[in-house]
């Protein structure tokens, strides 16, 4: 069996497992969802490893590679206990279903890998792409934590909103580390770390979006729905924009 064929099977298995794990976490009593979550993680990891073997580098950029890495990151994050069992189930379900959605995208979109651009050999470019994708996955996870808080009991809601806020902050650190890598890469390559173009402005816009979510006036922050919405917007919007731009690429 070729690696490409193996990846094909893992892709379908991963899509099915994320769908099932999400359903178990959301609807079914008991702890089956945890086992399913570990299976999702194993499959997402296998998918990334087989892709890396095919590419001879880690998945770095392009819609397909990004979706694969988002699924992997989300399947790791979904298993971290957030301090509330009922909140954790919801949050995990949202993460896995997002994985299903990412995978399902490639039933219609092109699932080609990006070619092995010579720049990918450079450590700062690898760091930039890897950290950028990791940060977007963390922001999406923070969004899901905020969305999962809606309609929950007050204690669970508070726990999930704080969890969401923690990951927004952590995601910002990862995002800025990615920007640092990108700046270093550009300076070595083009002479200056900054460039006035749509990509750099978008990245700044993303940062401001997260910053805004962390600066809600007290009276607004006291309203759970509003706070949840503010904390959910950055991740959801970023992923939507990111995937749209990538799908529109020639």
């Amino acid at each position: 069996m070729t690696l490409e064929l193996l990846l094909h099977y893992i892709y379908y298995a991963c899509m099915g497992a994320t769908l099932a794990a999400g359903a178990l976490a959301w609807f079914a009593p008991g702890n089956w969802w945890r086992g399913a979550g570990w299976l999702v993680l194993a499959l997402a990891l296998a998918q990334a490893v087989v892709s890396a073997l095919i590419l001879n580098r880690p998945p770095l950029a392009g819609t397909y590679e990004a979706a694969m890495m988002f699924t992997l990151w989300l399947s790791v994050l979904a298993l971290i206990p957030c301090g509330s069992p009922e909140g954790q189930r919801r949050l995990a379900a949202l993460c896995w279903w997002a994985g299903t959605a990412f995978m399902a995208l490639f039933l219609v979109a092109s699932n080609r890998f990006y070619p092995d651009w010579y720049m990918y050999k450079y450590i700062w470019s690898r760091l930039f792409f890897t950290l950028r994708m990791a940060s977007l996955a963390v922001f999406l996870y923070a969004s899901f934590a905020a969305l999962a808080s809606l309609g929950m009991r007050p204690e669970t809601r508070t726990t999930l909103l704080r969890w969401s806020r923690n990951f927004l902050l952590l995601g910002t650190a990862v995002f800025l580390a990615g920007e640092f890598s990108g700046f270093t890469w550009r300076m070595q390559w083009m002479g200056d770390y900054w460039c006035w173009n749509a990509n750099f402005l978008e990245a700044t816009l993303f940062f401001l979006l997260v910053t805004a979510a962390a600066h809600l006036p007290p009276s607004w922050a006291a309203r759970p729905r509003l706070r949840a919405a503010a904390q959910a917007v950055p991740g959801v919007l970023m992923i939507c924009l990111f995937m749209t731009f990538m799908l529109l690429e020639p």
Binding site: Y114, P115, D116, W117, Y118, Y120, K121, Y122, T158, R162, R165, N166, L169, L170, T172, A173, L176, A177, E179, F180, F183, T184, M187, Q188, W189, M190, G191, D192, Y193, W194, C195, W196, N197, A198, L201, E202, T204, L205, L208, L209, T211, A212, A214, H215, L216, P217, P218, S219, A221, A222, P224, R227, E249, P250
Partner: protein, 276 residues
């Protein structure tokens, strides 16, 4: 003072900046003002503003609007620092307070370093040279391109960034094997010389000479291969990178320290009180 340091004002200024950046993303598209943005990158922003910027007034107006937005945000940050952040250092969890304050102050240093970079030093991107050509550099230096060695397939040279990304694969293009031989002189004396490669800039008295890529003049036959160079001198680059690195560390530390209790700020406590 109270209003200028309020979180509503912060949110308002951040929102306005986001809208303005969104507008920048839109007008920066190839069919609109991408050419003006290209010029912005070629030189110091100050030189651009005093020179070619006004050929397309929308681009400098957008940029000045951006500066205004950043200025308003900095004003808010300054007032917040004095009325909210610094007073908190004496109360509650000192470590959280310090981290929160430092995250804001280091961001200020990053922004100032970034802003100063637009006006200080020297910048020349997209400097195109063919073998045998000489250009003058700041401080009485001259740069001569002695020769270019391009062993990879020349048909890939003039591709756009997006196309090049698909074509310049690690098998098609070996950055170490393609280089430009340059000589830097002051008067008749050679200051330095060597082979310049992609991702391996050369430093000459604080001036960073970078080989950004190769090009081939379109109408020439036989086709010659030239280079696209960048010459940048910025006294604050190191400060910017140190501050940025510190900023990342502070953000991560703030996330860890406030993991259980939330941030040490009045808004969270007040919000909790209102919620209870």
């Amino acid at each position: 003072m109270e209003r200028l340091s309020s979180l509503k004002f912060t949110l308002g200024s951040l929102s306005a900046l986001m809208i303005w950046l969104g507008l920048g993303v839109f007008i920066g598209q190839p069919k609109l003002l991408a050419a003006s943005f290209f010029d912005m990158n070629r030189m110091l922003i100050l030189d651009w503003l005093l020179g070619p910027a006004w050929a397309q007034p929308l681009a400098p107006l957008w940029f000045l609007g951006l500066c205004l937005g950043v200025g308003v945000m900095l004003l808010n940050l300054g007032f917040c620092t004095f009325t909210r952040l610094l007073p908190r250092l004496r109360a509650g969890n000192a470590l959280k307070g310090w981290l929160l304050t430092l995250v804001h102050l280091v961001m200020l240093v990053v922004l100032l370093g970034h802003g100063a970079e637009m006006a200080m030093g020297h910048k020349q991107e997209e400097l195109r040279m063919l073998p045998g050509q000489t250009v003058e550099l700041p401080e009485g230096l001259t740069l001569s391109l002695e020769s270019v060695l391009f062993v990879s397939d020349p048909s890939v040279i003039n591709l756009s960034y997006r196309k090049a990304r698909w074509t310049w694969t690690s098998t098609n293009f070996k950055p170490r094997q393609n280089w430009a031989k340059v000589v830097i002189r002051r008067g008749d004396a050679i200051v330095t010389q060597g082979e310049l490669r992609i991702l391996e800039p050369m430093k000459i008295e604080g001036l960073r000479l970078t080989l950004a890529g190769f090009y081939s003049p379109k109408d020439e036959k036989p086709a010659r291969v030239g280079v696209r160079l960048a010459l940048v001198k910025n006294p604050l680059t190191t400060l910017f990178f140190v501050a940025y690195g510190l900023w990342v560390v502070l953000y991560a530390a703030l996330a860890v320290v406030t993991w259980r209790g939330g941030p040490s700020n009045g808004s969270a406590r007040q919000a909790q009180a209102v919620a209870v």
